[in-house]
């Protein structure tokens, strides 16, 4: 049940993109086509869960014991950057097809607020949203990360669908491109507010 609540909360109620504003750049940047958006979502899911796992361990078994939690930001981003690059290198060699599908999104993920954001949220209660004051344990953290990635993917794919339709519509010139995309995202966020209170 606990897990289900985490998932519903992260996917619908506190959607990482539409209500937390994490990872908005790729949300706006690579959402022109549903297939691209789906690729990005897949890559984010993978990286987010692995990164959260690693940073969770790093925080609880290195930083806290040494009393240097304040190094969190530096350590996490380094680990994430290295992780992403490693995954990219390996993927390119081991499975070029998977690399074509997901790998090309990897560089975008390093500088994506969502991955670092989730990694930080799970280990520091001061930033937790809507969660229990108790810290999440390892399993919950990973579920939380996956759920957020799913929320990211959901918003991303819906949005990409909407933008593909907009592509064929005659949007007034000044609104073409980013402005209408933002307004669409706004209305999407507005509708997601309906999920408020589900958990």
């Amino acid at each position: 049940m606990e897990y289900i609540l985490i998932i519903i909360s992260a996917v619908f109620v506190n959607n990482i993109l539409l209500s937390q504003f994490l990872g908005v750049c790729p949300f706006l940047g690579v959402s022109n086509k549903v297939s691209t958006a789906a690729g990005m979502a897949g890559a984010v899911t993978f990286v987010m869960s692995v990164a959260t796992l690693v940073t969770y361990l790093l925080q609880n078994y290195v930083l806290i014991p040494l009393g240097i939690e304040f190094m969190q930001t530096v350590a996490f981003i380094l680990v994430i950057a290295a992780l992403v690059q490693m995954v990219e290198i390996i993927l390119k060699k081991v499975s070029p097809s998977l690399y074509q599908a997901l790998g090309i999104f990897l560089p975008l993920i390093t500088t994506n607020c969502a991955v670092l954001g989730v990694a930080i949220i799970v280990v520091s209660k001061e930033f937790a949203f809507g969660g229990d004051p108790q810290m999440l344990n390892l399993a919950e953290s990973v579920v939380f990360a996956i759920a957020n990635a799913l929320g990211f993917g959901l918003a991303m794919i819906l949005f990409a669908g909407l933008r593909e339709q907009l592509e064929l519509a005659n949007v007034p010139k000044p609104f073409k491109g980013m402005p209408i995309a933002l307004i669409t995202a706004g209305i999407l966020a507005l509708s997601f507010m309906g999920f408020a209170g589900l958990v």
């Binding site: 304040f70 190094m71 530096v74 937790a128 949203f129 809507g130 969660g131 229990d132 004051p133 408020a196 209170g197």
Partner: protein, 200 residues
């Protein structure tokens, strides 16, 4: 421009950059540690002094934890001279609209609520955040009330509290947190009486 990458210079560069920056960080950390701690304490102290009657001790240094219903609450006793003038109790709930709400609830020694202060919350601006003092009169209605005869439930649920319009959820959560603080207060008071009895 960038240099040719070799294993040696890569490792050396990265290592030296991390070395320098970590040294820098450690240094700044050392420098700012006490101001940071002070800022944290100051925030708590400000809240305490807002919610309890006048005192002259340092409640933060006398704080103790109280277990209740499997949760731990922090209690700050306030004294004027030797006399215990009340408790500031840091209470919380996760029943808010945006999740966790942390309150500081101050009780006078007679059990009446002196005042409340919101320490942190994630309620909606314009709606739930009206529980914060100054944004609406919601929190004022608790002042001077004794939960013994002031039912800490919103009126809709049969209590005495006027809910914030369109924010029943927040109001309920607020009441819940105050109620919890009240329970903790009663625990402390009992112990105190016990202690006093023992002392005597």
């Amino acid at each position: 421009m960038a240099r040719e990458s070799t294993l040696k210079n890569m490792v050396i560069t990265l290592a030296s950059i991390t070395l320098v920056s970590s040294a820098l960080l450690g240094g700044v950390y050392a420098l700012t540690k006490s101001p940071i701690d002070m800022a944290k304490v100051a925030k708590i102290n400000a809240a305490i002094s807002k919610v309890v009657a006048e005192f002259d001790n340092n409640p933060s240094s006398e704080k103790f934890a109280k277990e209740m219903g499997g949760k731990s609450y922090t209690v700050y006793p306030a004294r004027m001279g030797d006399e215990l003038v009340g408790y500031a109790i840091e209470s919380f709930t996760t029943g808010g609209f945006g999740g966790r709400i942390v309150l500081m609830v101050g009780f006078n020694s007679d059990g009446t609520i002196n005042n409340t202060a919101v320490l942190s919350h994630a309620e909606t601006p314009g709606l739930g955040d009206k529980m914060v003092e100054g944004k609406s009169d919601f929190s004022v209605q608790f002042q001077g009330k004794n939960p013994e005869d002031f039912k800490l439930l919103v009126k809709k649920d049969g209590g005495d509290v006027d809910a914030i319009t369109a924010s029943t959820i927040t109001s309920r959560a607020f009441c819940e947190a105050v109620e919890a603080a009240w329970e903790v207060y009663k625990l402390c008071n009992e112990e105190n009486i016990k202690k006093e009895v023992q002392d005597e």
